[in-house]
Symmetry: C2
Subunit: 122 residues, 2 copies
């Protein structure tokens, strides 16, 4: 993978937040929405951008699309993701996102349903 392509993916705040979260493990779009508190179209488009450039993979699980980092990233990608994770610690936005991720119950229940009726999606 070309180095420039990687940096192009990293030069937007929303994408940095998405990647920072994905470093913790696979996640579906509805959870990204919940954590970032950004409109669905915005999240969906940035994920598409990352997908087209090979920074993330998707897998459908029922109604949900679960995104994750590639299994065997190139040397460049691995290095940069590690660097990002290291640096992101220093900024509040990223720390808060990870905190919210921790509090999430990780089920994709319909709104209003009790949490044990929801199916796990990721």
């Amino acid at each position: 993978m070309e180095l420039l392509r990687i940096y192009e993916c990293l030069c937007d705040r929303t994408r940095l937040r998405l990647l920072n979260l994905l470093a913790q493990g696979p996640l579906c779009v509805c959870h990204f929405q919940e954590i970032l508190r950004e409109p669905q179209v915005k999240i969906s488009k940035h994920l598409a951008y990352l997908r087209q450039r090979g920074l993330v993979k998707v897998e459908r699980r029922g109604k949900w699309m679960v995104y994750e980092l590639p299994g065997k990233p190139s040397r460049e990608l691995k290095a940069n993701l590690a660097c990002l994770q290291d640096c992101a610690q220093e900024e509040a936005v990223f720390r808060r996102d990870v905190e919210r991720l921790g509090k999430l119950d990780r089920s994709c229940a319909p709104v209003g349903a009790t949490s044990d009726t929801g199916q796990r999606c990721c």
Copy 2:
């Protein structure tokens, strides 16, 4: 320094080449031109871009402007520059630039003058 600002600087090929060269030491614009073989305005503008965002410093030396990396870069910048230097090794453009840098006699002589009449600028 904000992480996003760093990545914004890294998402252009010309700027990556400039930074990769600066990792080897200070350099003046005329040498960048010689190595990158890109028009003066292009190089000058990208250096201005980097300067405005604090990724490089400038110092005038006679007619020449000598650019260099900041003396004490932030943690984020240091990490990313190290990462860049590591990754750049894998791509031909960057290796070639460094090669050309090595062959340079590092004097800023007027065209046509013998090399020992030229003054050192960086």
